[in-house]
């Protein structure tokens, strides 16, 4: 998968390239608007990550030019978290946006979602190691043993399982499970994870819910 990153800030560009490369993507980096536009139009990419504030030509114009000929998914980055900016970006044809500063895990999650093209498949049965989640019947079993979960615990487990292998940040979890769209100083998410682990992981030798220190949580069978 090839990704083009258009970012003028030196450090940010380097870390985006490094982080995405290490996550298994082939990454090209453009540091100015004209360079980014040229590369976007003349090379084939699966995704373009575009900073709005760019020297030369700003991100909006680059996006307009890309959209004239291509429909490569575009994720734009904006430092200004004004609503108008986001609306403008989406109206110009961007597929998603992130407000700086963002958690790298968050960016990775968005990138993967965009590359999957379209919403994640709604599987009726999600499996991971010996864990089985029957989404329709809301039944969870591990090694054939039934696990009773509350509605919240079920949504949390399902969110992790649908995006297994992806590190989900606390704010993403709070927003997806509880629809709380602001950062809180509380440990609500950690408590919820702890309780979920007590039911899903603690009774079993193989631990599935992993803590990505400083980033969030991920469900993964690490053997």
């Amino acid at each position: 998968m090839r990704i083009l990153v258009v970012e003028d800030e030196l450090k940010a560009g380097d870390y985006l390239k490094k982080g995405l490369s290490e996550s298994g993507f082939v990454v090209d980096l453009a540091r100015t608007g004209p360079d980014g536009r040229h590369m976007a139009l003349h090379e084939e990419y699966d995704l373009i990550i575009l900073d709005v504030m760019l020297p030369g030509i700003d991100g909006w114009h680059v996006m307009q030019d890309i959209r004239k000929t291509k429909d490569t998914p575009v994720l734009f980055l904006t430092a200004r978290d004004a609503v108008e900016d986001r609306v403008k970006g989406l109206e110009l044809g961007a597929d998603d946006y992130l407000v700086k500063p963002f958690a790298f895990a968050e960016l990775l999650a968005r990138v993967r979602t965009l590359l999957r093209r379209g919403p994640p498949r709604e599987e009726a049965l999600i499996q991971l190691a010996d864990l089985e989640i029957d989404v329709l019947k809301r039944r969870v079993t591990r090694s054939g043993k039934r696990i009773d979960l509350t509605a919240t615990e079920f949504s949390l487990l399902r969110l992790l399982a649908v995006r297994q292998g992806e590190v989900l940040s606390r704010s993403l979890i709070a927003s997806q499970v509880w629809d709380m769209n602001f950062d809180s100083d509380t440990n609500v998410v950690d408590v919820a994870i702890r309780r979920l682990r007590a039911k899903v992981d603690d009774p079993f030798p193989r631990k599935l819910i992993q803590t990505a220190r400083g980033m969030g949580y991920v469900i993964e069978d690490r053997g």
């Binding site: 919240t152 709380m180 602001f182 950062d183 809180s184 509380t186 919820a192 309780r195 220190r213 400083g214």
Partner: protein, 469 residues
């Protein structure tokens, strides 16, 4: 108008005074002039009537016909000595019998009235002489002697040379007086206005001495004239508010600096200590993870400060919707249930009615209160979240928790930014000191308010008061 705005108030007042004086003088002058000219004309008319009466009296005597035809000079003598008076006598065929002067020969009229029937007064007309003289004239038929059908025409004219001069002099006098009056009024007006405005200049000077560093100064109310008292009071109140805001702002800035410096200092020291010698990968990882947590906390704090700054400038757009408060509060309670349960605190939410508010901000405000309530509840405590309509047009959401309570001296400042009741309890680690400030900001954005009541070792209740609609 732009040009006129730069003219001083004193000049304006002087000009107004002058204009008003000019107006008063003109009205009075015109009135005096008219009444004087009327009076003079009346005097002229009276003279004409008297002359006519005298002549008629003479002609109606027995020898009237003889006098007219033989000795007309005797009649003319009556007017001869009088300056500007002309007399012409014509017979019934309008032929001139006698004239007092050359000019009198031209005196004619088409409408003489018979004398002695009381019509003389109305018969007086304006007269314009051939040399441009102006005046009044009268023409009457007068019976001569004792024969009823023998009559002559008497035409008397009086030039108003005298009265015209008097009137012109009068007019000039009035104009001169007016000019003087206007000048004096303007000068006096200017002086009075400047004197009157002296207190305004004094106030302006006092106001000019107030700077950002010396916001403590106030205008002295006792020095202001009665009319300016309201303005001075308003100005002083404005300074009070400015000083308070300024003080808060200064405090806020130093608080920000302090709150940012402490975690950044910790980060630096931890990292430096780690780097002093070779360590295991695990130790590096642990440090980086610890750092990330600190960065996230800083990031959240900056996000909050940004929110407050934007709310202050009313740049936060409200997306208002009707909220079913009961389900919303239960949802928030559900969010905190696990966290409360961990420390043995129970939660209970109920409400009646609906409310129009921005749902995200509503959640944020209530969540901040609930998180605080759980944090400060003792084990086994019970936190209630209750929403209800209160007297007309208000909706109250109250969050209560038991506990030691907030000492009353902290209550007035509890919603201030970075205000923490006790720094030494290490509370600053878990709280940014901005949560309640954000609650207050959200309520201000909604046109409502936030209140707190606390009973020592009893219930502490935070209330959000929303206006309905």
């Amino acid at each position: 108008m732009k040009l006129l705005r730069h003219v001083s108030l004193a000049t304006w007042l002087a000009v107004f005074f002058a204009a008003v004086t000019a107006l008063v003088f003109s009205v009075a002058g015109v009135h005096l002039y008219l009444s004087m000219s009327q009076q003079l004309q009346l005097r002229d008319d009276e003279f004409l009537l008297k002359t006519i009466a005298f002549l008629r009296h003479r002609l109606e005597e027995r020898d009237g016909a003889e006098i007219v035809r033989v000795y007309p000079d005797r009649l003319l003598d009556i007017v001869m000595g009088q300056k500007g008076v002309l007399l012409a006598i014509r017979d019934s065929r309008e032929d001139l019998l006698a004239a007092s002067a050359r000019d009198a020969m031209e005196l004619t009229t088409d409408a003489p009235v018979p004398a002695g029937h009381g019509q003389e007064a109305e018969a007086i007309r304006d007269w314009h002489g051939s040399d441009g003289e102006r005046g009044r004239m009268i023409a009457v038929w007068v019976r001569i002697g004792e024969k009823p059908d023998d009559r002559v025409q008497l035409i008397v004219a009086r030039q108003n040379t005298g009265s015209a001069v008097v009137l012109r002099e009068h007019r000039d006098h009035v104009l001169l007086t007016m000019l003087m009056g206007v000048l004096v009024a303007a000068a006096l007006g200017y002086v009075i206005a400047r004197r009157g405005l002296r207190s305004v200049r004094a106030l302006a000077r006092a106001a000019g001495e107030i700077t950002a560093n010396q916001l403590g100064g106030r205008l002295r109310i006792e020095e202001a004239p009665l009319e300016l008292e309201v303005m001075v009071r308003a100005f002083n109140r404005m300074l009070d508010r400015l000083e308070e805001s300024f003080r808060r702002l200064t405090q806020f800035s130093s608080d920000i600096a302090h709150d940012l410096r402490t975690p950044i200092g910790n980060l630096m020291i931890e990292t430096q200590v780690t780097l002093t010698q070779q360590r295991s990968i695990q130790e590096y990882e642990a440090l980086l993870a610890l750092n990330i947590e600190e960065y996230e906390r800083l990031n959240r704090m900056i996000e909050k400060m940004l929110f407050l700054a934007r709310a202050d400038n009313a740049q936060v757009a409200l997306h208002k919707n009707t909220i079913s408060v009961d389900s919303e509060l239960k949802h928030i309670a559900g969010y905190f249930e696990g966290m409360a349960d961990e420390i043995g605190v129970t939660l209970d939410a109920d409400a009646t009615g609906a409310l129009v508010a921005d749902v995200i901000l509503f959640r944020r405000a209530v969540s901040n209160l609930v998180a605080n309530a759980i944090r400060h509840s003792p084990t086994g405590g019970h936190v209630t979240i209750h929403g209800h309509e209160q007297d007309p047009g208000k909706f109250v959401v109250a969050v209560s928790n038991p506990g030691s309570g907030i000492p009353s001296e902290h209550l007035p400042r509890i919603f201030d930014r970075f205000y923490r009741i006790d720094d030494s309890r290490g509370e600053s680690k878990s709280s940014s000191g901005l949560g309640l400030a954000i609650v207050k900001s959200i309520m201000t954005l909604h046109g409502g308010s936030a209140q707190v009541e606390s009973i020592s070792n009893g219930l502490t209740t935070f209330s959000l008061i929303f206006p309905r609609g």
